[in-house]
Symmetry: C2
Subunit: 327 residues, 2 copies
DNA sequence: TTGTAAGCGTTATCAA
DNA sequence: TTGATAACGCTTACAA
């Protein structure tokens, strides 16, 4: 069932049928005739052929570091409806935290105009990333990290952790920090700097080795908390770079008879659903992930339509959610 | 940069270049000449044109009910590598638990051969679903539900909850159950029946109204637990259809001074990451979600290659994970 | 082993 | 307002 058959059945040329679907530059009678045939046959134009001819895919590729992450899923749930409403399909490419695959996907998407635009939910930027980004011939928005020269939407991690730490230090004297790799500028470097600067401002001296390095997992948070409490048993607050890490810390403290928040205060970042479930409920930073996804999608829409050619940078606001794990 | 230019630069016909990429029916010299040109130009064949010509998209559509779900993400992480290794891209379509969108996506995918195959991570089957499935002219595997006449991979929910309940009843006399909608056969009906049959076998009488109906959320678990404990304060075990529900129940019990497992035992299903974090750690059913995803992907691969035309049904094994929330 | 030529199903240009 | 006609970039008989 192709456009030729429809044209023949409706007694018009295939160009007219094409117009029926696109410009709409068709007389009433022909329009009616064509409509009748389409209703009867259930004809739907071939997307592939259209893509080949027009060079537009109506697909946006979203590259995500992992699928099972509260923050990522919130961003995606912000992105999807905005793009769908604008007539785009969303192709999710999951890299499972593999930087090489991330680069691969960028190449794949751009090389042959697989997609009309890309949203990169970023973590780290290797030289390979930068190179791939430079060669990208497709509209792009970077989400969750800031990268100069590109349109970005990201969270104010520095300020958030700085403020949160400041609040904790009102009642704590010996804080420790569990962070993630500094290559991840947002979650690693910025949050850590927020912690350090807050300590400095409060006149709290932070030992050189005060940072433990964790993965983004609960288990990892557990072992880091263990390392901290064994090295410095008088620690009275643990600021964690993510909620997951904080959950691990909470578990360690609980199992070792340390009370939260009386003996040790604990904080996370992310305000995941779990944060309200653990005992005690976790004080954390609420990031507007979903909204940032919407924002990124809108920006991309602007770039794709060509209206909006100049790169911009959006830093999202945050909220501190005080719960029972701090005093 | 198209195949014609490459052909010209290499001094061969475009058919030979095409063969270079496909059959490989090319002499050594020409092959070398073509390779040289390709290396120099970085030429990559247009996927769109190839699709148009061959009718193969090399894309598999995976329809998922929600992105932020532990079980779904595990299934997807099983599916993706299997399909990628076989040369397929995975297009994730998120329906956000909207049955109508689920049907829409099935139509979209099948109508114009957008994809070579579909994996449907199913929850419920409405008449609209059944109709759309019937019209689907694309290889399909149903994941996480059983549906006769179609290839399926699903979890043994009945047996799992039956066995788990049996264990709980060794030390409990007044069990209650928090379930989800029975329209969801796997998570709703099967788990509930497992609970009821186990009670029957142990000679425990279950009041008619012993089931509370919850959403798949923590909050919902909280209110159902509340309803149960108010209606039947002597309840000494709450079997929950999902981990999330169990977390809510745990929170309610904790806040109301009831000890778990001494006063009330609690169980979930799913063995999500959270299950090891909450206090006390949750006894639950471990389903092999990731493996079931792999299995479904392999089945689809078989159907798509045409080898494997007869529908099959795979029921996965499970494990009961006993932790601190039961005795 | 290679080249020629005929499509795949559209849209865009142009003249009518 | 319409219809021929020429692309879009590739694969695949078929013939050489």
């Amino acid at each position: 069932m192709d456009i030729n058959q429809i044209a023949q059945m409706a007694g018009v040329s295939r160009a007219t049928v094409s117009r029926y679907f696109n410009d709409g530059y068709v007389s009433q009678e022909k329009r009616a005739a064509i409509k009748r045939v389409i209703d009867k046959t259930g004809y739907v134009p071939s997307r592939q052929a259209k893509v080949l001819r027009t060079g537009k895919t109506d697909i946006v590729g979203v590259i995500i570091p992992k699928i099972n992450s509260a923050s990522v899923s919130r961003m995606v749930s912000g992105i999807t409806p905005v793009l769908n409403d604008a007539g785009y399909q969303v192709l999710l490419a999951n890299t499972d935290n593999d930087a090489a695959r991330e680069v691969e996907f960028m190449r794949l998407f751009s090389e042959r105009r697989q997609v009309d635009g890309v949203i990169l939910v970023a973590t780290i930027f290797t030289p390979a990333h930068l190179a791939a980004l430079k060669e990208l011939n497709t509209p792009l928005v970077v989400l969750d990290q800031s990268l100069s020269g590109y349109s970005c939407v990201y969270q104010d991690d520095y300020e958030a952790v700085r403020e949160l730490t400041g609040q904790v230090l009102a009642t704590a004297k010996a804080p420790a920090y569990i962070g993630v790799l500094e290559e991840d500028v947002s979650a690693g470097e910025m949050r850590h700097r927020g912690f350090l600067d807050a300590c400095r401002e409060c006149g709290v001296e932070v030992p050189e080795d005060a940072q433990e390095l964790a993965e983004f997992t609960v288990d990892s948070g557990y072992s880091c908390a263990e390392a901290i409490m064994q090295a410095r048993p008088h620690t009275d607050a643990i600021v964690c770079a993510t909620d997951s890490i904080a959950f691990g810390a909470l578990t360690y403290l609980h199992e070792h008879g340390l009370r939260v928040p009386e003996d040790v205060q604990v904080t996370g970042v992310g305000d995941s659903e779990l944060a309200q479930v653990v005992t005690p409920r976790l004080t954390t930073v609420h990031h507007h992930y979903k909204t940032s996804g919407q924002e990124a999608a809108k920006m991309l829409l602007g770039t794709m339509s060509g209206d909006d050619t100049v790169a911009r940078t959006v830093k999202m606001a945050y909220e501190i959610v005080r719960r029972a794990s701090t005093r």
